[in-house]
Each structure stands twice: as C-alpha cells, then as structure tokens.
Symmetry: C2
Subunit: 413 residues, 2 copies
Amino acid sequence: MSVETVDHLTSVGVTEMEKAEHTVKDLDASKLTIELTNTPRPVPELNSKETWSCRACSDHMVTVTWLEGKGWQAPKIVPYGPLTMMPTASCLHYATQCFEGMKVYRGFDGKLRLFRPDKNCQRMVISSTRVSLPAFDPVELEKLIKALMKVDGAKWLPKSQPGNFLYLRPSIIGNGEELGVKAPAEVLLFIIAVPWPDLSTGWNPSGGGVPGLKLLASKNDTRAWPGGFGYAKVGANYGPAFVAAMEGRKKGYDQILWLFGPDYQVTEAGASNFFVVWQSKEGTRELITAPLDDKIILDGVTRRSVLELARTRFVAKSAYLSDAIKELNIIERTYTIAEVEEAQKEGRLIEAFVSGTAYFITPVSAISVHDEEFPINMDAGHTGHYAGMLKEWLMEIKYGKVDHEWGVVVDED
Amino acid sequence: MSVETVDHLTSVGVTEMEKAEHTVKDLDASKLTIELTNTPRPVPELNSKETWSCRACSDHMVTVTWLEGKGWQAPKIVPYGPLTMMPTASCLHYATQCFEGMKVYRGFDGKLRLFRPDKNCQRMVISSTRVSLPAFDPVELEKLIKALMKVDGAKWLPKSQPGNFLYLRPSIIGNGEELGVKAPAEVLLFIIAVPWPDLSTGWNPSGGGVPGLKLLASKNDTRAWPGGFGYAKVGANYGPAFVAAMEGRKKGYDQILWLFGPDYQVTEAGASNFFVVWQSKEGTRELITAPLDDKIILDGVTRRSVLELARTRFVAKSAYLSDAIKELNIIERTYTIAEVEEAQKEGRLIEAFVSGTAYFITPVSAISVHDEEFPINMDAGHTGHYAGMLKEWLMEIKYGKVDHEWGVVVDED
C-alpha cells in the first residue's frame, strides 16, 4: 500500500493499516463478471413505508469470495437475492463481520457521486482485520462499488430526480462452515444498495413531528472500551447497543448518548459521532468532539469532514462568518457530560449535533442526564446555525452544486 | 418464571432473568414436528481430521422461527442443511446473535446424558435478551435439545461406544431482512449437534504433544468491560478476540489470558474460565477465580460446578483429601496477574487450569507476562492434582459412573 492512500488517516488508522499490510490483499476489480437480472425489482417511492423498512434493495449486488490459502476470488455482480450458508458459519456465532455505511448521490448536474469513498474503503480494511477477516486493497473495493452503481444507478437514482441518494452497504462476513473458535477459512464480501429514508431532517415519523434528536445519556451501559473495538465498524458494536437504544425509545428518546468512564466522558450518540458548540469559560467559541486516541470512537468520514471544513471556514476573516456564525476553535479532546451540563446552566451551550452517514448532520434538541432533561438551542429554527451551515456545505459537495475533490463522480457511460 | 428455576443463578443472572420476564416467551416444545432425512450423513471417526474440523454435523437440526408481534412459532426437527437469509439480515451486520455450548454424553451404563442443561438454557435467555433477541421459557429449550438427541443420539453416539460425546450448539440469530439499526423483527433459533475433538487432554495435534495449555497474558487487548456484555454468550465476545488469539498462536501460545484494568486483573483464558490454586502468604491453600459481580466474566456452567464441588469436597475431614490434596478455601475475588507472578516466584503457586464446555478442565503449564514466561506445576504429571480430581468427578457424573442430579438422562425410547 502506498503512503498516498493512507496519508489522511489518523494515527489509529495508519497503525492498523500497517498491520493489515502483511496479509493477503489480492482483491482485483478487473476480474469482475456481470450477470444481469431477469426479474427486475420495483423501485419504492421516496420516503414510503417500504423505504423506511430499509430492505428494498436494488436489482444487483457484488459478491466476492475469499478462501484461506487462495485469497480473493474473481468479483461478481449478480442479481440481488438470498445468501446461503451452513448453520456452522462463523459469522452467525462469532460476529466475524464488518461493514461500511456510505451513500451515492444523484447530483443536480445529473451526475452520480460518492462522498470520499476512499475513506470508507480504507476504514473497511481496518474493520475487517480487527475481527480477523482478510485485508484487501481499498482502491479495488472502491472500483467494485462504482461498478455496482454503473449497473443500478440509472434506474434506482434517475437523472429526472436529482437530490436523492441510495445507501450503500459493503459487508464482509466469515461464512465457512466450521464451529472452531478461530479466524474463518472462508469469507464473503458483498455490496448492496438500499433506498433509505432521509433521517437528517429530524422528522422521523415516529418522532412526533418535532425536529432535532432527543438523547438519553447512559451512565450504566458502555458502548466501547480502550483495548476493545469501538473504532472499527464491526457488528459487535451494534447488537449489544440495541437494548439501551430500545429502552431509550420507550422513554421518548431517539438515541443514547454514550458516556465512558467514572467521569462520564461524552463519546458518541447512537451510531453517530457527537459535537457540541459552546462558549468556553474564557469566552471563546469552541466546536468540541471526542478524540480518536483511545480507539473507542469511530473515525467517521462525516466527522472528519466536519472538522476539516470547520477548521478552514469558521476562522477569523472567513467569508462564511456573520453575526450568528462567529469564529470557532476546533478542538478534539476528552470532555465530560458535567461540562456540557454546566455550559447549559450557565447559558454557554450554543448547539449540539450528530454526524454520520445514516443521520448526516442532525441537530440535537435535548439531552436527558440522570432523569433531568435540558433543552439545546436550535437558533436557526429547525437546526443550529453551525450545524445548518455544515450540512449545507456538505450537501453542495455531495450533489455537485460545487466542484470539490470529496465528491467523486461515478462513470455511468 | 418460578423462583425455583432461577434459584441457582447468580445475582447477575437473576436480574437479567427478571428483565426478560416481561417479554414474550411462548416457545412450546409440545408443538414440535419431525421430518426425517432421506440422505443420512456419515459419522466421522473419533478424533479424525473431520472431527477436528468441527463441522460434521449430525443428520438433523431443530429450527424455530420468532416473529415480532406473533412470537415463537411451532418448532421443527428437519434434515441438517444450509440456512438461507437475505443480505440485509440483522445477524450479518449487527451481531444480533447468541449461542450456547454444551455436550451430550454416552454413559458407561448405555444412557445418554446432558450435564446441567437447565443452566445452559437459562443462560441463553440472558444472552438472547442482552442483544435484543427474544426471551423464552428455558424449560422448553431443554425439551427441544432432548428431542433432537432422541432422534440422532443412537446413531451419532452409539451405545457400543460409551465414554464419547457430541457438542451441542443452540443458537439464536436475527434473520429478518431490514438494515435499520434496531432489534430484529424476525429471529431463528436453531440447534445443531457436532462431533467434537477432546480438547481437555491438552494433546492438541498442533500443540507439539506437550500436555497443558500455554497462556499469553494480554496487557493491550481487552475482552470485556463493566457496562458491556462479557457475561453473555454473544457472538460479539468472540470474533473481536480472534486477532489476539491468532497472534498468541504464532508466538506458541494456546490461549490468551485476558487481563482487565490498570492493575491487570486476571479474568478469563481464551473462551474459558480460569482458576489458580496457590498458598496464600498466610499459609492457607486457596482456589481462586474471578467474581461475576462486574458482569465481565461468563457465568460458566463448568465454573459453577467446579466451585460447588470444591466447596463440598476440598474441606476439612473430607474423604477426598490426601497428602497431595489438602483442604482449600474457595474464593471468588478480583486478583491481579502480579499476585500470580509473585506466588510463582515465592514457590506458592500450586497449579492453574481452565474450565469450560469446549476445554472441560484443562491444566495450564505456562503463562507469559510481558515477554517473560513462567512454568506452572502439574504435580500429577499431565495435570495438577486438584484439576485432575475435579475432572474425574465431573466425568463420573457426565458418563453415569455415579448417580447425580447434574447428569440429566435423555429418554431415547
């Protein structure tokens, strides 16, 4: 792997990629074969019940098999359909599984774009090797994702409907038949494309029509731990978090705000990264998010993009500043829920939001800490000013309103 | 659930069972239907390569579907074969999966026995609900396990070969098609029976022929943490541990000795519970294992049985004591690797062993801590005296050499 492909990764990422370097990575998109479907699937209506079910996949999927001692086999695009595996398959018992979440966008210029797909593909190498699944060249994975969109993009994201997206889910699972507690000897990589609701409006049909996420801070359940795997996008981070999430929903909260340690450090919200904008006690405005150093936080592509945009645009003399949008210090550091509570009580809390592929940039309207709920300002109405600006900038890139290196065009010809 | 069914569970267990009580548990073994196979499978030779592959399952399997709003459907015994699921199945992405590990034994009296199956079935309710899978009446699960053995026991554990066992693997997976990050709406419970190698001899073919496990203490990787799910038998505890295990094997170690916290508390070894016998500084002999209080340790059925037998038999005036087998204080408490090292250096370390279904009772012959390996005595030759006695007593119960309530006979007529 060349230095160029990893230069934007954090120190965590680089270390993990170096480890992965020593394993087989002969994934080769040039060997792709394509078998088109004879039974095309209907495209669900935008924001229909079917879209909200998150299961109405597109006509085709990518599959690639990996075999111990033989490496990655030739990739295929085949009609979307069921997978078959023996009851002893490793992924069913030992969570030998990882995935990526990304989207493909139909731009207002008619073009199809991915958003920083190199980052997702690099992260998937890290996730895969964290659960003893094989490494691969992330550039080849990106080619396979584009190949699937070249086949399904025109029908599932028609040019006549710009401003829409599909959710893409590359997954890797250990599917050999062998119950032994060990790295799987047979693996399947698959990529599917799924019509997905727009969660970023905060207008979840079950949410009572009020914009902004309500978060329940969890002091008992812990999502991730140093020396664990919270930084990797592996199945093991999700299922065990559902119980707390479901209990939160019963109490009227959209997501859990995950705290960590005896001092209750703020880490993530649901399956998204979490940001706070506040005025420090010294009077400076700050954008705060948890750091990656402990490897308990997911190195989110949206998180990374928020930080990079904020560092260049929310600075003194920037053309983007205004009365409402003052300059910010951008800070990745450990911070506690007590600091957030204190800022709120002292009137210094300006706004809060989550970032991620599923929720994009969604404002937070309230946090409940030990049964006491405090509201969070959304001074631009349905959002805070900073979150609103960041979302707008990212939308412009994703939908081709501006030309930016993060928006990677998919060749459809 | 009556108090009687949970009285032997730890406080952890009871709390979790009480929570589970509120969810649907209409699993009903009396609705079982049986479809026998037309293509019987060959039984592999004992200790053959095929047995070591842990995939040569018996002729049949139990399957039960659960549907949101409808509950558990009628259980089935069907020919063993592949499972089919959509690529969006929850268990492939979010580790909504749990399992049990138990064995069925062909006794020297010709009878088929399970060992404390009520404990496995109760624990499976705890594991299932920990990853937002449904609860059920554990008594019904036990009936289904027995029903499978009534069908496959005679062929796969013939009466002509007493002293052998099959490994049983009940599993529950979220298999509905829905990518949303939430509790699955469709679930499959299945039970398979697998010929399994005898790992308890320590004579693993890859182990160089030396009895006793060599453990590598891990100071960097963390298996489980408070507020997590280390106490539950969920897939999320396994796959993420494989990388450390594989690195340990490359260095010549059979299993990882998992440490926890800044003081490096000793927790588990590989996927087994871990015990040390030492002489305390005050001169008393102690059997030590980590406690269940933090919910980071699996409430092992063998662990529990070791403690219960030791508490009644390694006591003053017991008929089981001898020169080599002196009385023991049985202690569940937090202890550190430094305490074990100190005991070894001062000549107070008597023996160490792991316990679990897969490894049964297997002695430990060495531990490596920060690149320094120290040997552990196996004063009875291929094992320590205490581990040897405990294994012998449990074998007697499992294979019907003594009549004991823990050995539950399966009706084969």
